[in-house]
Each structure stands twice: as C-alpha cells, then as structure tokens.
Amino acid sequence: MAIEYKKNLAVFSDFVGVEEAEALLEWFLKNPKGKINLSDCVHIHASSLQVLMAIKPIISVESKDEDLKLWLNTVLE
C-alpha cells in the first residue's frame, strides 16, 4: 500500500496512486487532526493532492524528493 494509516498519522510512500484519494479523504474525515509523513513519497496523484489541499494537514515529515517538496510547499502553506 502506498499509504499506511496509523493512529493519527498517514505514512505515504513511493507513488501514491489515484485509487488512494477516496480512502484518504475518508480517513481525514474521521481524523480531522491527522498528520502526514511524506518522507518516502515521490509522487502523489492529483486526486490525493486536492484532498490534501482541502484538508491542509500538518506534515510531520517532508518528502525527501526535492521537487515534490517544492510543489507541496507552494500548495500546503
């Protein structure tokens, strides 16, 4: 799985595909204060990107992928 859900933290890894968006949104609805760990994530499908933009969660660990980090910084601040 590209997203592993822990108690109050969603851990993203590799390529987060389009299928994940719905579950991600649902998870945030249940855990409105949920944080995300992007450390090992290299890409997030646009659908999940817009979920993140709607929620604006706290990023506990930024992505190691510099380009993704740049994009997300402009989006989630």
């Binding site: 389009v18 968006a21 719905e22 991600l24 949104l25 945030f28 609805l29 890409h43 997030i44 499908h45 646009a46 659908s47 999940s48 990107l49 817009q50 979920v51 933009m53 709607a54 929620i55 380009d67 993704l68 740049l70 994009w71 402009t74 989006v75």
Partner: protein, 892 residues
Amino acid sequence: MNNLLEQFLSEGRDFLQGIAEKLMQLENNPNSTPLMTELFRFVHTLKGNSGLFDFPEMTRVLHASEDLMDAVRNGRVNYSQELADQLLEAMDFVGILMDEIEVTEKIGTKHAIPAAELAKALRALLGNPESETAVIEDISPKNNAVISWADLPSLKLPESIAEKLYRYAIDGDAVFWLEYKPESDSFFKGEDPFFLMRQVRDTLWRKVVFNNVAQTLEEMDAYSCQLAFQLLTIAPEEELDDLLRYVPDETKRIEIPALAFVKPQGNEDDHPIDVEFINNALILLDVGDFDALTHAINTMLELSASELWSSSALRWVLRLIESEPDNKIAQQALLESLQTLIAPDWSEIAQTIPSTNTTTNSSTSVNSQVPDDSLLLGFHEVMNTQREILSLSPHLSGAWSEGRLKAVAATLLGCYRAVNHDYESETDAALQLALAENSPAPLLALLESSLADISKLSETPKLEQAELVAESAVQDANFGRRAEDVTAVAGRRSEDATAVTPNKTLKVDQEKVDRLMNLIGEMVVAKNALPYLANRAETVFGVRELAREIKSQYAVINRVAEEMQDTIMQVRMMPVSFIFQRFPRMVRDISRKLGKEVELVLEGESTEADKNIVEALSDPLIHIVRNSLDHGLESPEIRRTAGKNAMGKLLIRASQESDRVLIEIIDDGKGIDPDVIKNKAYEKGLIDEATLERISDQDAVNLVFAAGFSTADVISDLSGRGVGMDVVRSAVEKVNGTVGIESVVGKGTRLYLSLPLSMAVTNVIIIESDGQIFGVPMDLVVETVRVKRSQIRTIKQKQTTVLRGRIVPLLSLNDLLARNVEPLTNEDDEFATLIVRVHGEHVGILVDNFRETVDIILKPMTGILGGMSGYSGAALLGDGSVLIVLNPRELI
C-alpha cells in the same frame, strides 16, 4: 531474416489476398458498407505495418491506396471499375516488392519511379494529386499565440524570483507562463495532471489552485478534478508542446517579456520619496549620467527600509540600468512611479516609440499649495460650530458659565493661529468683555468680523490654486491617484486643525468586501421574510398584535439593512479616474502615430461607480477612444481645409445622473455619414431594401452597433466607426448599461454610455406563467398592460396589437419557454402583457398574471444552467423560494 520481417511478409501476403478478394466481392455488391470497411482496414493495417520498416516505396503506394479507400468509404469518391483496377494494380506492385524483400531484405532503387507514378494515379482518382503531404498534421497545440500584453497573467512573484526570471528573459531564454486547467473528469481518462506538470523541466515558479466546489468536506468529490496549475518555466517551447499534446485545449502558454517581471512591490511608504530626489534622478537619467544616478539610488536605498515599495522600485531601476541601459523609457517610467506608487503599465510603454526628450511634467508645487485651501475649509467648519454654540441661547442668564466662554475663546484662538492670523489681543479683549457681560455677544461679533477678514485675504491664493489643480489634473491624469492623494492629504490636515488624528484609511482585501456584500445580500432577502411572517401571524394564527409588532421591527431592520447595504456599496465605489488615467498617454501615442493633433479633455474623473462597473468600462472605452482617433478625427491638413482648428478635440466626460453614470466621448471630427452606413449595411444584408428607403438618419447611424456590421473593409474605406462597436455594445449591456451615438456630418460625434452605479441589487417584476413565477428586470420593462383578445391582430402569422398608435408584436412567454400552453386571461378576456424594450424595440410578452416588484440579489447561473442565455440568473425570495429571472434580450 528477423522474425518481425518474416511475420510482416507472411501477414502482408494474407492482407494482399484479402484485399483482392474484397475487391472482387465489391464488383458484385458495390454499395456494401461492411465490405468497404473491411477493405479499408486491410489497406490501413498493411500500410501501418510497412511503416515499421524502411520501405518508403511500399509505404507510399499503400498510403495513397489507404487515402483513396478512406474517401470511398466516406462516400467522397464513388466506387468504380477503374478504381478497382487501379487498386489491384497497386496491390500487385506491393506483392512484387514483398517478393523482392523476401530475397534481398530490401527494395531496389528501380522501383522508386513506378511507385511514385502509381501513387500519383491513385491520388488522381481522389481528385487532389498533390495532397500527399497534406495529411501529415501538425500536432502541436496551436492556441498559444504570440505575446500580447493584454493576455499576460498578473503575476505576484517574490522579487528575488522576478529578478531571476527577468534576467533569463533579458538573456534571451524564453520564459513561458503555463496554465493548465484539467477537465473535471480528467482522472477518469487515466490522467494525472499533477504528474504531467511535474514533468515540466526548469520550473522557476509554481502554483496550484484548488477550487473546491463542495460546501463541506463530506460533500467533496476527490475524483472530480478541481485543480488549476500555473507555472513559469524556461523549458524549450517544443518540449512543452510535446508534453502537453494530449491536453492542448486545457492549457495556455504565453511567453512573458522581460519587462513584465519588473514590478516593484512592498509596503506602501508612509512618506513618499522626496519629489526633489525623483526630479534629480530624472535629470541624471536624461543626461545619461548613470554613475551619478546609480550612486544617488544606492544612497537612497541605504537610507530606506528595504521592504518598502519605493525601495523595490529603486532596485529595479538599478537592474534596468545594468541590463538594459538603453531602455530609458522604462527606467524613466519606474522613477516616475515613485510618485504614485503604482507600477508602470508596461503594455503602454512597450508600444511607445522611443523618443529621446520626453520631459516630465511633475508639478512640485501642488502639494505645498493645496493644504492651505483645505485648511481654510476646516477653519470655516470649526468657526461655524463655534457660532452655533454661541447662538444657542443668547440671553439665558446663568446658563453661560465662564468655562463655556473660555472654551470658545480658546478654540477661536487656536483656529486663528492655524490660518496664520494674529487675533490674540482681540480674542482676549472679547473674552473679558463677554465674561463681564455674561453674554456671548462680544465673541460672536469677533467671530463674524474675523471671518470676513480672513476670507478676503485668502481669496487671491485660492483662485491660483484652483487653476493649478485643474491644470495638474489634466496633465498628470496618467499619474493615477494624484488627485485622490492630494485630497487625502488635505483632508488629514484639516482634521489636524482641531485634533491630532491618525490616518484612518484601512486597506481591505476585496474578497472580504465581496463577502460582506454577499452577506448583506442574504440579509436583505432574509428580512423580506418578516412581512410574510407578519401576514401569517395575522391570517393563520390570528394574533394581530404580534403581526403589528413584527411589522414595526421589520421597519427598523429594513432601515438598518438598507443603510448597511448603502455603506458597503460605497466601499466598493471607485472613481472613474482609475480608467481615465491611461487616456492621456494613449491619446498622445496614437495621435502621434497617426500624425494627428488632438487635445484631450477629461471631465468628471472623480465620478464614482461600483468597482465592477468601472472595470467593465475599461475595454469598451479604450475601443471607443481608439475609434475616435482612428476614424473620427481628421488629419490637421483636412481639418484646416474644412475650416476647423487644426487641433482636434476629444472630450471624455463622466457624470452622475440619478442612479446611473453617464460617460460621454465627444469629438469634433468628421462625424458619421448616415448614407454611407445605410449602403454598407444594405450590402452586408443587415437591412433589406425597404428599410434602406425608409430608415431615418439616426437609425442609420445606430446601425454601427449591429452585430456583423464591423469588418475590415469598413475600417479602410468608410468614415464610420463600426469597428467592433457591437462588441462595445454587448460589453456594456452585460453590466446592464446602454450605449448610444449621435453624429453630425462634418461636426463630430458624441457617444454615450449609461451604466448603473452598482450592480448589486436588481429590481424585478414577478410574473406568473403556466403555474410558475419568473422575474423580469424592471429596467427592461416599459409598462404592463392588459390586452383584450379582440385587440390582437395576426399580421404575417405574428400576433400584434396596437398600443398608443404603435404596432407592438406579441409573444407568449409559454411559447418562448417551449411550454405548449395557452396564456390565461382574466374574467374580461384580457391578456396580461408585459411591454419590454429589447434592442430599442418594444415587444409585448403575454403572461398569465403580474405580481409585485421586488429588489433581489441576482446570482448568475452556474454549471450547465450557466450556458442557458435565456435566463440571467436566480434569486432567493423572502419566503425561501427561488425566483428564476428571465433575460428577455436573449429570450426573444
């Protein structure tokens, strides 16, 4: 021989066989679509396969065959014996090539000429032998036009990034603005717009906009793409085209010129940069002493806080000097912008032909002169108040305490000092006398006499000032907020005369004002529910007392709501000078280019209207002014021969007429010849011959607004100004405005736009039709009448009636809305008829019944409904129901 080639040959022979069979079957059954489709597929696949190898002769013949079969399949070419022969011959040739390939794995050069001839013969049957290359299409997005300043996005970049981009652009690296708005269903096409954008190389700035249509997170649809991507990149053009080739309609790419990045930003300065410094800098620039200029700017920068707007502007001047030392116009514009704190409009400057001695016309004296004038105003105000206090109760013994008299005296003394008049001894004497008499009379006497003295003294300078201000308003109109700034300063000073108050101006985000506007809109609607409630209290529950109380509370809420609405509207008000300010420069540039002499006069710049209205005015006005300069005003020679002043006059005037703004554009040019317009309109088929005979001169002139009147040849050979006037009209109508024209041949033309002051509240009449209610904007309604069935005549299958001696066509609203129901009549067999004015004509709309008129907040339709032009929007009524508002202009 490799496997692929072997496979190709074996499959290819099967296809050749299949093609021959199908052709034979077609001989007996020439109209069979399945046969035709099969045949095409064989040829098509074979051609596709041949492309895998380097067999140009074979591909060429097969390509021509495929095109021919495609034409036959689509019915563009008829199947014939000759065609079949030609195709069979071509396939035989392909077979020969295959045999040769089987042996030598290549095609001998001797086949090149026969291949070309065969292809030519096949294409001859198509009817266009030369089109061999035409089928190869350009797949790059075509909608990316060349630079146009008007299309440029307004960029808000950090200065460091803007600087970087500017340097790239100056160094010749094209900087592209890329905007990508995927369709909302793009995920269901397997697209990942974010991934696509991440593949753009050399992105220097990026932004993602998420436009969530859902009200709540629960309602959000993660799979409806609501994103828009924007970025700036220096990636090569071809690479971008290639990357975006699947989504050309959803992307916009614009090359950004270097100057567009030159945009000072920062905090507004409390104390604008000294005019002296700016003038000095301009002189240094003029003489080309860059060293001194750089030095002066650096010194200034050291003295100023770096986050100020002016500091940013100065840094840009330095960068321009370094990168574009010859672009004096840009450097000058930036320096001049320091006075106004408004970034230069590069689109206008970019058009300017560089000229060496453009002098500045900054008037240094204005600031020091004007405050005196306003100070006097403040002085008079305070004096008037004191007079009122003194006249309160002249002989009420005991009421005049010592303290009150002393206070008035102190105030008067302060006022005299403020206007530099020494009345110290007089005031003191008057106070003593007043105290002794226990009467305000002595002070009152002093007040009156001093007022007379002071206004006499100040009369002379006041006159001078008025002239000065007027002059500077005309000359410096392109310096934007000058006039307002001056009043702002003045206003503050006059306050200072009484008490020290801080500047009370507040900068508010427009979004907040809009939100406030929406809220008050809802409030107005919500309060409208109260009368309903009162009515129910009385009729349903029978508590008349409560009904009355609700009504009286409603009156209070109504007043407050209306006042709130008024106030918010005023916040949104904006002077038309906002758009007028660009005209001096524009008129100068265009008239110079055209070799015309034009004097531009602007009047009523302080007239205010809603921000949206003012902004909507901008484009139409530019259009009209350009037209006046282009086609209205003559060249100096022609004007002289016509006995006119060589210098033409263009007057742009704004004024307020009750709840509308009137903008007039008046020139003393050659006017519009109605005969020329008539003939042109007739040629274009806009009017028929009968109309041509009858049409009045004024109606003929009005034809310039007709859609389809304006075309290129009109510009070239006609005195008229039909250039895009229909565009102007529709732009103005979009904000509920009207436009008109008057012209006298040889004397000039007057164009006028009348616009609402604000667009927030719409007054509509509610009508019933077929059991539903609709709103119709009152500004279109001429009157409501009841037409007897017997008064309706049918002329040319159209229902009409005669109203005040005028034939009015009648349309049934049910028909217009495609409801197949007769309109209802009342007991007297009369139709309720709404007379509306549409495109200058009166038309009657038959409805079932009229109801009241209401003020509503009109919300435009969105989504699929947004495309239905017959409706202008919807609004909430007081009882919570939705009212659909019709747009008769489009409906009829």
